[in-house]
Symmetry: C2
Subunit: 179 residues, 2 copies
Amino acid sequence: MNPDLQNTISLLARTPGALDALLRDLPDTWTLRNEGEKTWSAFDIVGHLIHGERTDWMPRARLILDFGETRAFEPFDRWAQVRESQGKSLVQLLDEFARLRSQNLDELRGWNLQPEHFARRGRHPALGAVTLSQLLATWAVHDLTHLHQISRIMAHQYREAVGPWSAYLGVLQCAGHSS
Amino acid sequence: MNPDLQNTISLLARTPGALDALLRDLPDTWTLRNEGEKTWSAFDIVGHLIHGERTDWMPRARLILDFGETRAFEPFDRWAQVRESQGKSLVQLLDEFARLRSQNLDELRGWNLQPEHFARRGRHPALGAVTLSQLLATWAVHDLTHLHQISRIMAHQYREAVGPWSAYLGVLQCAGHSS
């Protein structure tokens, strides 16, 4: 397998387990609270990751392989999880994310992508031409963006509790660029 | 148990498992690379967390309980892991971190802290008076600061690979406040 793809899949395969180890059965203080109006909680983010597994990464990769630049990607709904996560528990969402991610990676491995595939281009509705290679790298960094965001949202809940130490805690200085 | 302490311990207990799920057997591209000169890799950070388990959190909590403000904390050595992690593998460090954290939390639970203990004050060498409650909250947010940093360091390795998507990926905009 292409070494970059191997690195990407290694990371993508670990995110559900890492979020599970961090969040499962954690008190609601950490998982259901957000950073204020129109911001997300860890619960919201797991729902967002699920929506991405269904509608973003693999469908876009298929579009690139099947249609190249002739068909633009569907825009991604960043608030879909509000509707889709309704009535579900965090444990259900973690299980669903793990299942979908695993299915998607099985399918991706099964494509047996060759060097020439990674340079194929598709059309992003706002960014223009993007390659399959960039899409796959973005899938991995998107996981990391949300891990980064989850750690910041959780730290936010203890912003006052740490007292004078807040000056030393980098996560509390993060300006919320990943919200 | 005090509900704040319960929340804090819930999080502290999960960090070793979350880092293990994320990092164990991940390719070196993700775990050994840093963000440039004088910055840390994920490997370095696990070593730093181990050093904190040995010399920072519990020793400082004991100082507060035993000596109050009469004895200042030892300054923390932020580069100790360079020496202490030498010759070890990431897997060894992850195991060591999990073992030390678990021992420390067992001891902390065994103290059976009462409401009056949390307000007790100690003396930080730079910050001045701090309470036991603030120290324990800081221990948890310190974990989150480093989870935040690890996600940023890992994302940095794909900074170029994501192409035009970099504009949408918050973790790539993070100015490194937690280095």
